[in-house]
Symmetry: C2
């Protein structure tokens, strides 16, 4: 039986139910984080809580818990995850009245297979789902994720694993559920914050360690790249095998970065 | 006791609870409509269902009910509304698995007072919450409404009734919860669909009757307008009294348009 932590209490996961007057359900007025859980341990909790608490502050959503309390709750829920590999989601909404909703819950997660890590995954370049880099929600992992989900559905309908998105100025931004990087002249380059991407936790670690740089990138850079990479907290770093059916060169960069990251991702695909 | 219609069944309103795995809660992946209820009668149901069903088709969300079934459900829920004036909300999400969520529920609603209709309401011009006219959700009444809610909170913190929004090209678009019109040289002009506004039901009726025209409008037009109007299905047509503290001329247009619209709105403020 999975556990959930809900507004300060730990209960069986299947007992959680949301008030239809919750601002998260009415208006998408909230934020979320997704973490990977391996054998009951959630990875990178502090980086996710950093981002979450910064976002809540920007939105003026006040919750009674501090980072330590949320971390303890996340560890407790992760330890009771129903599968060896699981996805842990932290959701905070403006709630109903003056009571924000806080929810931490897990679901089973099946990561991409070893094949995907070795040979890469196909993606679709979908400029018809542009990110607005100047929008009021830019950089927030908002519950308002419908456009990303539509892009992902479109990509999946074409057999692709991810949709690659641009912004209103046709600059590369990110995937619908991952950050993007390209290898150009031996450098690993990722779209800049100001171009509208979400500041992902794996992206942050690679930037902090000097293994990747922010760069303003165009669709031409994507087509010319020596390697194309996707990254998020669930998969680590995945190579891209083709874009809209056109093959992309495969290299050793994704594998190298996973080894450097360590944790559960270093075990995948060598 | 209020009633709600939930996935084909009519139940007491307070029994509705949302699955935390609902795509509406997880990702804002759904649509909604808000209708005014007066003495148990909901107004303009067909226009709202038109927009809702067109949006669901665009999103490839399939529901078992047709317009007639939804209208019957809305009438039943409206008839049991807990207050003489109420707000009826129709929400449809992609749900969980292959089961979309359909919910029709009411809440008490207090319309602006006669004073507001006679003297107008203050608004804030807030270009820092730009609408993306080229976004994948443009024109949809999506559950992804967080940016609008933030703009409204900002406006309300300044004592205003509404936030006036522009698009990425600094064209006027709409209010955070209403359509916008300006009176210029005796013509009633409202921002164009392609500039990013939501196609509101009151806006539609005024356009269809030739009482208002679509026009590309700038913030300068707002400043120069002889009258400024807000419209939605809850308030009908409301005049604006001031923008960021600067007085706006008051005229008879809002009152005239309410008389033409008829229904509950014609009773307000003469």
């Amino acid at each position: 039986m999975s556990l959930a932590w809900w507004n300060g209490r730990t209960i069986p996961g299947e007992e959680v139910r949301i008030d239809p007057q919750d601002a998260g359900f009415l208006f998408g007025d909230g934020l979320f984080e997704t973490l990977r859980v391996d054998e009951g341990t959630a990875w990178d909790i502090p980086a996710h809580l950093d981002r979450l608490l910064a976002g809540l502050s920007r939105l003026h959503i006040e919750i009674p818990e501090d980072a330590a309390a949320l971390e303890a709750a996340a560890r407790e829920v992760a330890a009771a995850a129903p599968a060896a590999i699981a996805r842990l989601r932290i959701t905070v909404t403006r709630g109903h009245g003056d009571a924000p909703t806080r929810l931490i819950a897990t679901a089973p997660y099946e990561p991409p297979g070893e094949e995907a890590y070795r040979q890469g995954v196909p993606v679709r370049f979908l400029p018809q789902y542009p990110v607005h880099s100047g929008g009021a929600l830019a950089g927030l992992k908002s519950l308002c994720y419908q456009a990303n989900r539509l892009a992902l559905r479109n990509a999946e309908a074409h057999g692709a694993w991810e949709a690659i998105l641009v912004n209103e100025s046709a600059r590369l931004v990110e995937g619908s559920r991952s950050n993007l990087a390209v290898v150009l002249d031996g450098s690993v380059l990722t779209p800049r914050r100001q171009d509208g991407c979400l500041p992902g936790t794996v992206r942050r670690r690679l930037l902090e360690r000097g293994l990747m740089q922010e760069w303003q990138l165009t669709p031409e850079d994507l087509a010319a790249a020596g390697e194309v990479l996707l990254m998020n907290s669930l998969v680590g770093v995945l190579p891209v095998s083709e874009i809209n059916g056109k093959a992309v060169p495969l290299g050793a960069t994704a594998s190298y970065l996973r080894q450097v990251l360590g944790g559960p991702w270093s075990l995948k695909g060598g």
